[in-house]
Symmetry: C2
Subunit: 421 residues, 2 copies
C-alpha cells in the first residue's frame, strides 16, 4: 500500500467515525477524556520508555537541544497533560447550542445550532504533549481527528494513540475518532492537506516554513497560527506609570512567546519623559534597543543601544531585543502597525477616550488592547478554558482558538408545514 | 505591464482602500450606496447601451440563449438593482458591534468586535446585476472589493464601475473601494486567487467547473457556493397533508434553484399511504420520478416513471425530475443523506418529537428543517436582508451568507494598566 492509499484509508475511517463523534452526548465524550487521563497516569512508565526511545534516536541524529527539550515527556509534562484533560472535561459542551431562533413572516422559526466541524487534521512538531492536548479538545468538541506529529516523536505518539483509542472504546466511541498518522513518511502531510472529501480543516502548529509549505499546497482550509510581531503604542496622553509597566511586561515577561511585544512605538511629544524610565527598567534585563535616529539620540548612554534598520520593523526577535520608533501620533502609529504587524496583538497605552476608540477600531489585528500587556492574548487569559492555537487568519476563527473555533454553526428551521409561495 | 503586475497593482490599491473603508462610518457608507442607486437611475440609458454592445458581441460569438438571458440588463433588472441597493441601506450596520465583554480574574475586560474582512474578491459569470449586488454588500460591510465578472459583460461592467466609483467619491470614500478587473484575460483570475497578501477571501459565484478550478489553484481562502442536492425525508410519523404539500413545494415551486429538492426519501411503513397522493400532485406537473424498485412497484401506472440508477442519488437535476427511495427509518434516511447530499439543505416531515430532534442534530448540512419546504433556505427568508450566496463550507460562514459573513470578529481588551504575572 502506498502512502496515498494509506492516507485515503485514514481519511475514510475518520469521516465514518466523525458521525458517531458528532452524535455522541456530552457525558460520553467527558467519560472518554477521563478514561484517557486515568490511563496516562497508569501507563506513565510505559510512556516514559517510549519517549526515551525517541530521545535516544533524536540525540543520535543530532537534533538541536531546543528540539530535544520539546520532545521530552517529563513527569511534569505528563502531569500537565492529565490536568489539561480534566480541565477540558470541566468546560461546557459547545455542541448542540441553538441560538437566535426567530419567527419569520412565513411562519417558520430560524436559528443556528453549533455543531462539530467534522474531521480535523492537526500537523505539529515533535511534541508529544500536543498529541494529547489536541485530541482532548477535538473529542470534547465532537470532532474526529487525524494527528500528524513530528516523526521524531513516533514511538511516544504510538503509545499515546493506544491510550486514546482505549479511552474512546471504553466510553463507547469509535476508536477511529482519533487516529495518528503511523508513518514518518513526509508525503503523508501532502496527502492529508489535499483530501477535502475526508478532512474539513487543517490546524498547523509549527514554524513558518511548515505554514508556507501548507499555504502553497493545501486544498483543505486551514486555521493558521503564524508569527507574532506585536506592538505597544505609548500615546501622547498615556499615563506614564502604566506605560512603563506595560511596555516592560509585554517585552520581558517571556521572550519566546508569540504575544511578546517586538516593536515599541512612542508618541514624539511624550518620548523625552518616558524613554529614560523605560531605559532604566530595560537595562536591568539587558534588553537590546534597536532605535530609530530620534529615539537613539534620546537614549544616548544606554548600554545596549543599536541603530534600527528597516528589517527591524518586521522582525520577530523572540529574545531580549526590542525595536523602538518615535511617531507623530495616532495616524502614524496605526499606519506603522497596519503595515508591519503580523496582525496578532497590539496595545495602546492612553488615557484619551477618542484615541482609545480609534485604536480599537482601526488596528487590523486579532487582538487589540487598551492599557493592558500584549501578554494577555491567550485562550486561558481570555476565558476560553483551553486553546488549540492563536489564529492570524480573519476567516472562521481569529485570535485565540478554543472549543468554539473547532465548531461550525448550521441553520435549523422549525416549521409547521410551511411551503414557499 | 503584464497581467500579474496589473493584478498586483489592483491588489495594492484594494488593500490601501480597505483601511479607509473599514474606518468609515455607517452614514458615509449608506450615502455612497444611495448615490450609486441614484446614478444607476440617471444613467439607465447609458447602461442599456453598454449592455447592448455586450449582447451583440455575445450573440455574434454564439453564446447559449440561457447565458444571453443572464447577460441582459433589462429595465426590470435595473429597477431590481436599484431597489436592492436601497434595501441594503436599510439594513443595520454590522461593523463595530462589540459583544460578550466580560471581566476576567486578571482585571482586564475581554470581548469581540465585528470588523470587515478587508479585501473581498468576487468571481462571477457574465451577469451585470451581480456587479452591483456584490459591490453593495461589500460597501455596506466596510470591505474593499475586487470584482471579476464574466468577460462577456465587460462593457456593462465598466459602465457600472464608473457609477460605483462616482458614488464612493461623492460620499468621501476611496474610489478604489470597489474595482473591477478591467481585462478579459483569464489569467487575471489565477492572479486574484493567489495573492493572499492583498485579498482576504474569494467569493466564487459560478458553475462547478469554476469552483473545481479555484479549489485546485487558490491560496486565498474561499467562501464557496456549490450545488444543492437537497433531500426531503417523509418519516413514518409524518402528517400526510404536510408531507404532500412540502414534497410538492420543495420540488415544483422552482426547478432551477439550489434549494430545490432532488431526492425524496420515504419511510417504508408510510409509503403505501403517501405515494399515491404524491403521484397525483406530481402528475399535474409531469414530474419524472426515478424510483428505486420498491417505490417503482408502488407507483405502477404513473405516467413518468423511470427506474433509478445509482447515479440518481447524487444528481442535481434542476428540472422536473425527482429521485425517490424507500428507507427503513431514521437511521437509513440520515445515512443516505450524509452520504449523497451536497450538504446544502435537508428537511424531515414528522410529528415525532425524538425523530425531529435526531434529524436536526445528526444531518450534516448547512440548513436542516423540520416540517418546512427546502425552498426556504435563502438569505431573505432567513431574515438576513440580503445574501451574497449560500455556503456549502463549514468554516466561517455556512448556509445563506449575508452581511455578517463578510465580516470577522477581533478580540478587544479594555485594560486599566494590567500586566501579566
Amino acid at each position: 500500500m502506498n502512502i496515498t492509499e494509506y492516507m485515503q484509508q485514514v481519511g475514510q475511517r475518520a469521516r465514518a467515525a466523525s458521525r458517531a463523534m458528532a452524535r455522541s452526548d456530552s457525558a460520553t465524550r467527558n467519560r472518554a477524556l477521563l478514561l484517557i487521563a486515568d490511563a496516562i497516569v497508569r501507563d506513565a512508565a510505559l510512556l516514559r520508555a517510549a519517549n526515551a526511545r525517541d530521545l535516544d534516536a533524536a540525540a543520535a541524529a543530532g537534533l538541536a537541544p531546543a528540539m530535544l527539550d520539546r520532545l521530552q515527556l517529563s513527569d511534569k509534562a505528563i502531569d500537565t497533560m492529565v490536568e489539561g484533560l480534566r480541565q477540558i472535561v470541566s468546560l461546557a459542551d459547545p455542541i448542540g447550542e441553538i441560538s437566535n431562533m426567530k419567527f419569520r413572516p412565513s411562519g417558520i422559526q430560524v436559528g443556528q445550532m453549533r455543531v462539530p466541524l467534522g474531521v480535523i487534521g492537526i500537523i505539529y512538531e515533535a511534541r508529544p504533549n500536543v498529541t494529547v492536548d489536541a485530541a482532548g479538545l477535538c473529542i470534547k468538541s465532537g470532532n474526529a481527528t487525524i494527528l500528524r506529529g513530528g516523526s521524531e516523536a513516533i514511538h511516544c505518539n504510538r503509545a499515546l494513540a493506544a491510550i486514546v483509542a482505549e479511552g474512546l472504546a471504553g466510553a463507547g466511541l469509535p476508536q477511529d475518532g482519533v487516529q495518528i498518522v503511523d508513518t514518518t513518511d513526509r508525503a503523508a502531510v501532502g496527502a492529508l492537506i489535499t483530501m477535502p472529501e475526508y478532512v474539513d480543516v487543517i490546524v498547523p502548529r509549527g514554524g513558518k516554513s511548515l505554514i508556507a509549505r501548507l499555504m502553497a499546497e493545501a486544498t483543505v482550509p486551514m486555521i493558521k497560527h503564524l508569527d507574532g510581531i506585536c506592538h505597544v503604542y505609548i500615546d501622547g496622553k498615556a499615563d506614564l506609570d502604566k506605560a512603563v509597566a506595560i511596555a516592560f511586561n509585554a517585552k520581558c515577561h517571556r521572550y519566546g512567546t508569540c504575544n511578546t511585544m517586538e516593536t515599541l512605538l512612542v508618541a514624539r511629544a511624550i518620548a523625552p519623559a518616558v524613554l529614560p524610565r523605560l531605559a532604566a527598567v530595560y537595562a536591568e534585563k539587558a534588553v537590546e534597543l534597536r532605535a530609530d535616529p530620534e529615539a537613539f539620540a534620546l537614549l544616548a548612554g544606554y548600554p545596549h543601544l543599536v541603530a534600527a534598520v528597516e528589517e527591524d520593523w518586521s522582525t520577530e526577535y523572540l529574545a531580549p531585543v526590542l525595536a523602538l520608533k518615535l511617531v507623530d501620533g495616532m495616524d502614524a502609529a496605526i499606519e506603522h502597525i497596519n503595515t508591519y504587524s503580523s496582525k496578532h496583538t497590539e496595545a495602546i497605552v492612553t488615557e484619551d477616550y477618542s484615541d482609545a476608540l480609534r485604536f480599537l477600531r482601526e488596528v487590523d489585528s486579532a487582538s487589540v488592547m487598551v492599557n493592558a500587556s500584549t501578554r494577555f492574548a491567550d485562550g486561558f487569559e481570555y476565558g476560553l478554558g483551553a486553546e488549540i492555537g492563536i489564529s492570524n487568519d480573519k476567516l472562521h476563527a481569529r485570535g485565540p482558538v478554543g472549543l468554539d473555533g473547532l465548531t461550525s454553526l448550521k441553520y435549523v428551521v422549525f416549521g409547521h408545514g410551511e411551503v414557499r409561495t
